[in-house]
Symmetry: D2
């Protein structure tokens, strides 16, 4: 077949045509075509079959969650209360040892009083870029647009163009001039959605309907995204400051007893590992300090319909371990955790059910989900670190030897 | 329930116990428990249900693939030939517009002569760390161990310890001394597996059975991984040099005609976008230059049973666009693409079938898979860039407006 | 002699004692002791002799300088006017070819209409750190202190403690919580001084006299600097955002004619170099894009009594080259240029004279100096790039071959 | 005057003409013209006057230095012996408190048994770049040139072209292909010179006389430097791996007693500072972990005629602090310390004398100098850290308050 003749629609005939064309190549693997695709017809063009990933569930994790609300109009987060809960986490994965290790970490934390989690920031950024002939115009434009955030927010609220999202609220504008280009970071909040789609539409509207109409210095060219926006590529900007999702921290103070009994190591050994691992991270140019945050985040994202392309950016992590009077304080900061409880993949079967398991489906749940992900990530980090901290990292080896699973 | 009582085994009773305990929380979402879990019993502890992700298929992509073999004992890659093919790519995703965009990029490339792909390097690294009392001992140890790579390779081949992998062949050792610590980067090849499990076992054996037995300077402590190994965290080391998977480049020279007709833009406009986007990447501290490589990689990884936790590291990308006589040369370098065609999730139903679709299942196929992933990633990059390069990025906006899919 | 007996004072006897003790080691090199040290007695303890560096002067550079003023109380920069001037730049250096190359770059720019320079931001930051027992306290503290900037500014103005600087005006506070630590970035303006000394004293006063007295969450420990302050170490934070000195951009649009006649190359060749060099910078993990900004900055800093330890941070540069209708637009952004026209080494003979040469000595001159440094840096960058852009970089080679100077 | 008429030569008339033209601008500051410039006539074109910087001397520092030799032909470093010495260090600076602080750090180390220093690597890199039409050619070229290092070394030894340096010995070649470009890192040793001039000439010869003559794939364009060479811009490549100067580590194990008595703090307090400062460095995107290495390096570089433009790159530092049985182990790794004892500014009066003070002038001394710089840098780091580690960093504040010097 020629590529140009490949059917892209999702009517039953097109789906069937694709399946028929491909079946001979599968060598019997017809299971991928054996599911009802109707619920997924809006999810992707050229829909043809399914992937199925096994899901482990571990719980209940003992987590003290904050209850957060956005303050208007600045969009800061106010903590309305805190409550301790037991939460079950669904882990879509095929990595033997992952769920048992996360379980062990959660037990050590549970025996030490549980996780506590905090949401520090909520923003999602589209960084448009405006190209001028020289720096003079770009800086003059920057000075102008920096004064426009409130007007732009109001303009968007007036619904000036069809197709805009009311959920995507512009909060701040930051500019960055380099050469003849003025990058404009539009920072939004987007309710319980991840919001890339919303902010793409609203930013386009701002650029075309507001900026190009009113800017005293007319740019030669406007680009919706000039690559300072942090979407799906790790960057220091978003590691340090957040701004592409939720900035969340999970913490726990592990007791000596839990470290010894559950984690089979000592605080001193964990601190030596932290010393070695932190400096190893720096030496190799990691833009994070952690052992394995992406593992837990990937498992939770896959189960709950998050954007898998955001596993890397959502895993920008800064872990710390510090001895305090009561034991070992450990914390994990996730700078830009891109989670949603509405929209996109979260609306589909399976994903929606796994969100429900955590009471995270639908509106009003996104800060809850962010905190649970952070707690689960810290649970796995603690356990993997403990295994690594044993003499010769024997327990880490054993986990791979005995539970490596699918070799 | 208490966490400590949560059943972790995968016998039918334990699975059922977990499902029964959780069912009330799902609010009817029983579809997650409705599949036969037997094929997945080895995949994860605490197996409880499944996640299901819709898969689009696009093709055939026109790709000239290299045929590569490892040279012994150095482990360099020899190109044995090149052949042009049509390849169908399975994209597990819920992002409206992704597959149609990748399709469009592939068409522009097809009309320009097709993709060409190259594998430059194949290594997977475990970076153990040895802690001493001072720098003197650490540097002396470093000088010793740097001379041991060939002996270690031979020692591993002698199968000195049960449970080692014969597929994980040690190729080089590099050291890095910082403070009283000597980090030792063991660089392996692992056949067609991703190989983290293998190299964990073999590195443990090296540390315990070889190093600690023979090192003139005995370390105070050996750690299997000291965080210079590049596993699941982006780092400059592995972005620049590869060493955690395959280093692959895909390229194409787009013709003026294909750019205009298929991509609806111009070479000049694409070059202006490249100018803005490259400097935007630098300004925001991205350790890559690209727009959206993780999107394609995530979709292919999810469909084919790769480790989803490696989406971020596998997406470390360096894209370029350069005008040449015949049009616009575009290329995408993926420094550390962590793919497998045997082992782990690739052995499971669904994943195996999607691998078969690309003739990438089983031994001898991993370089093929790496190249196809690179080509697909470049296809999407081209199309997304073209949409962004239109006036005001109108076409990028339209894609989100019209195909946003699941809002 | 024993270290503990080494005289540290600067009275004539102590100076002489040091000189006498060291003279035998100099093998006749008494010139280092042959100068009157009295003018330098306040500059450093254990004053013993001098270093002498030859200074080239090149000019007049044709520069259009902005006239800037700080706006109160926000501390933004208002441009009051612009004027074109001819400026002579003193270059303390021993690098054959440097001054002649900068001269050539300046000529090409002069023939193209001259440099234009802009100051975008002025801040200097001390990042204190407050250590708590847990994240809960650190985040609660962060929320409190973020509201205190205006009160703190007023408190400092009340001169609550002897020894504070009135020139160091607190402008904003930003916090960063990682683990149980709250980093607090105090961003000041410091008039025409570099200001590290001032802001150290004022930050100490804030920490001890304000924060520890009033914070609802009392920290376990306050540290004046927790290493987020950007002092003398390159960091992405200060490369992107500025905040440790002046953010300045110099630009010029080179004409085809000047490129050909003066620079002996072509715009196409310069653009190919920019393509290669920009991607080479990314590939090697440079936190900048430029060829040789530190060369010009070092020469100007050494001549004018700036802090030589800040050459690296002041050289964080982002250079661009972009074809426009009238030729090749080139620009150099210096994110954190740490210059002073009062205080520190600028008050000493020689330094003060070289500042006078540029009409940059004393109060009210610091933005002028920053702009001249940026223009000179761009001049050298243009010329070095042009030499590199010739076929095989022959002209770059020739400059090193013929003018290498002191081999 | 017009720029084009500015005299650039260094004959007495030209010098005088420049001085006469500029004198009216100096407002009496004729001291800059009052020195005999004859000794500096080869140092820079457009020589016009001098800068003079006061120099403190502190010592004797108690350092155990390694005696190193290059092994042929690989260019590895062999340690031939170690010897303890007392060394005086000249610090050209105008920063009140610097020399007294370095003195204090040296005392604490002296009381703890002295510094020990190690040179791990010696290389200086020129990274030429070869531009092709596509990746196919660039990768094919890379495979070829990687096999040519030994032949190239021999070719250079045959002195095929006038003006080459025999001191610059090619050791290895590494390639990096990105897009249609093959970067070629030529790694040299250059004896006791810094060597940028030498390797520029030799690399040009290699490119023009060897590569372009013999490469099976002829590049469209050769550039002497494509910006992967690490010259004067900080980069992760050279921070991690060295390759632009000497990789040196200095260490000491501070006793409890010295920490308390001399440094006025405790090991626990220093460790808390290290915890905060290391994570602060990561959070702000520093490509180093240290407080103030550039301060000591700048002072030594200015005194001894090193290239001031290399202060930033030479200061890429990785400091560690770790509790061991006997006290607190501290170490400072300088990855790419660019020092020379012959050539360039080191040949001039003043610089040469200050080098003699340390017995570091002339051939055979460069590893000695590198080690002394590292020890001095660690001395200052220890003392500054100790001041910062006191309660509220009071002692750091006091140093700035009492010794700020020139306000």
């Amino acid at each position: 077949m020629e590529l140009r003749r490949w059917p892209r629609k999702n009517d039953p005939e097109s789906i069937r045509a694709r399946q028929d064309a491909l079946a001979p190549r599968l060598d019997g693997g017809g299971e991928v075509f054996s599911h009802d695709l109707a619920p997924f017809a809006q999810a992707t063009e050229a829909l043809t079959g399914v992937a199925l990933v096994p899901v482990a569930v571990v719980g209940p994790l003992d987590v003290e969650l904050g209850d957060y609300e956005l303050e208007e109009p600045e969009g800061g987060l106010a903590e309305r209360g805190r409550a301790q809960e037991g939460v079950y986490v669904p882990l879509a994965n095929t990595e033997g040892g992952l769920s048992i290790s996360l379980y062990r970490g959660a037990r050590a934390v549970g025996d030490s009083g549980g996780f506590r989690t905090y949401v520090l920031k909520d923003r999602i950024t589209r960084a448009s870029a405006f190209l001028f002939t020289d720096v003079a115009a770009a800086t003059s434009f920057a000075r102008w647009i920096e004064t426009q955030a409130a007007h732009m927010r109001a303009w968007l609220e007036g619904d000036p163009i069809p197709g805009l999202s009311r959920h995507a609220v512009l909060r701040e504008i930051e500019t960055h001039v380099v050469g003849p280009v003025c990058h404009v970071m539009y920072a939004f909040t987007t309710g319980d959605a991840c919001g890339m789609n919303m902010i793409t539409r609203n930013s386009y509207a701002l650029n075309q309907g507001y900026v190009l109409e009113r800017a005293p210095d007319r740019p030669r060219r406007a680009m919706l995204e000039g690559n300072m926006g942090g979407d799906k590529k790790i960057s220091h900007r978003y590691f340090e400051r957040g701004g592409h999702g939720k900035t969340v921290i999970a913490e726990c103070t592990l007791t000596e007893d839990a470290v010894r009994r559950v984690l089979k190591t000592t605080i001193d050994d964990l601190l030596e590992l932290a010393f070695v691992g932190t400096h190893g991270a720096v030496a190799s140019g990691m833009q994070s300090v952690a052992f394995t945050p992406a593992t837990a985040i990937a498992a939770l994202f896959t189960a709950t319909g998050q954007d898998i392309g955001m596993v890397g950016t959502s895993s920008m992590a800064h872990g710390t371990a510090h001895r305090v009077e009561k034991g070992l304080h450990v914390a994990m900061r996730l700078a830009s955790l891109e989670v949603a409880t509405v929209g996109g993949g979260t609306t589909l079967p399976y994903a929606r059910s796994w969100l429900r398991l955590m009471d995270c489906a639908g509106p009003g749940k996104v800060y809850r989900l962010a905190q649970i992900v952070a707690a689960a990530t810290l649970a796995l980090e603690i356990s993997a670190s403990a295994a690594m901290a044993t003499a010769g990292s024997e327990n880490f080896y054993r986990a791979h030897f005995e539970r490596g699973g699918l070799r």
